[in-house]
């Protein structure tokens, strides 16, 4: 898990970072909402954001609103932290749609469960399954450029392990793979979780779109594909 901490007061920042690191959570710390936005817009991926409310220039509420206006960033859960006597903050926080609240000074026993709970709602990964390294690399590059969290598997069995142990929001899989082909993987995935969309990829003229969709796949891409085709189809199915 990777958490972004946004806090202008260095003492409070140090405290939060120490608590998270002690719990084996990867942490990035920023001193202002501006720096945090630049960091995120640069394509960095985090599972949860912990932000102070009262910061100069852009405060925690404004920061949350800025995140909400971005199609990718609005999926990241935000936990706001504030001083005890900011009673009005709770109401305002609910209005802007935060995932949780912690009171300063932040306590480990309170923060960690909230972070773990919030992380359950963090954006899931797009899993790319292909036995060919080059093809995996191309698809991964397209997805990363579109700022998705990406995971890869080089076989159907690897893919199933990853799906069981990680938060996977959708799968893009090649059809022609040794041992377990894309169709077989598709039926396993739908057994584990019906709601994970699966896009299958095959060589041109091997299968018709209708044939593929009849197997239960959510969509189909034929090789060679254009990068916008990957972007458009992932955007259409990613939840």
């Amino acid at each position: 898990m990777r958490v972004l901490v946004v806090e202008d007061d260095k003492l409070s920042q140090k405290l939060i970072v120490s608590i998270l690191e002690k719990n084996s959570i990867e942490v990035e710390a920023m001193g202002s909402a501006k720096a945090a936005m630049d960091f995120l817009k640069n394509g960095e991926l985090v599972d949860v954001i912990i932000s102070d409310v009262m910061m100069p220039h852009i405060d925690g509420f404004m920061f949350t609103r800025l995140l909400n206006t971005d199609k990718r960033l609005n999926k990241i859960p935000v936990i706001l932290c504030t001083a005890l006597n900011d009673k009005a903050s709770l109401v305002k926080g609910i209005e802007v749609g935060i995932a949780g609240y912690v009171i300063k000074p932040v306590k480990e026993a309170i923060l960690i469960p909230k972070v773990k709970k919030a992380a359950e709602n963090s954006p899931g990964a797009v899993l790319v399954v292909d036995d060919e390294e080059l093809m995996r690399g191309i698809i991964v590059a397209f997805l990363k450029r579109d700022l998705y969290k990406v995971m890869t598997a080089k076989s159907g069995n690897d893919a199933i392990e990853i799906i069981k142990n990680n938060k996977v929001a959708m799968v893009i899989s090649d059809i022609a793979m040794p041992e377990m082909d894309g169709f077989k993987l598709l039926s396993y995935i739908k057994e584990i979780n019906m709601s994970i969309p699966v896009i299958l990829i095959s060589g041109r003229n091997e299968y018709s779109r209708d044939e593929i969709v009849a197997t239960g796949a959510d969509d189909f891409i034929a090789k060679p594909f254009h990068n916008t085709e990957i972007s458009d189809k992932v955007r259409a199915h990613y939840k």
Partner: protein, 114 residues
């Protein structure tokens, strides 16, 4: 009370090393916080006073420095209410409490070194 070591230790989850680091950060940062508060008052900027006082409030509550905390809350409230008439007096009181706080921290550090 000016400096409550046990409160800070509790905040740091019983980690004495972390307490040391938090104190180091505080000692390094507090002159900047006081300077921002002073600047906001001199320039008659209530919003800046509100923000600067609020930031220092966070640190002081972690330190368990209740006297200074009350004074910085008073300054924060003046900023929120956009009424800085008493701000200079409150700032002088805050500076005095901060000096005592720093003395307490240094005394504590000397005592723990022994």
């Amino acid at each position: 009370m000016n400096f409550d070591y046990n409160k800070l230790l509790e905040t740091a989850g019983g980690d004495e090393e972390l307490v040391g680091e938090l104190i180091d950060i505080f000692m390094e940062e507090y002159p900047n916080y006081i300077a921002s508060i002073e600047k906001a008052i001199q320039e008659n900027q209530p919003q800046q006073l509100h923000e600067a006082a609020h930031t220092l409030k966070g640190s002081l509550s972690s330190m368990g420095a209740n006297t200074a905390l009350d004074q910085v809350i008073a300054l924060e409230t003046m900023g929120i209410n956009k009424d800085l008439q008493q701000a200079n007096i409150a700032l002088e009181q805050l500076k005095h409490s901060m000096e005592e706080l720093i003395q307490d921290i240094k005394t504590h550090e000397r005592a723990s070194v022994k």
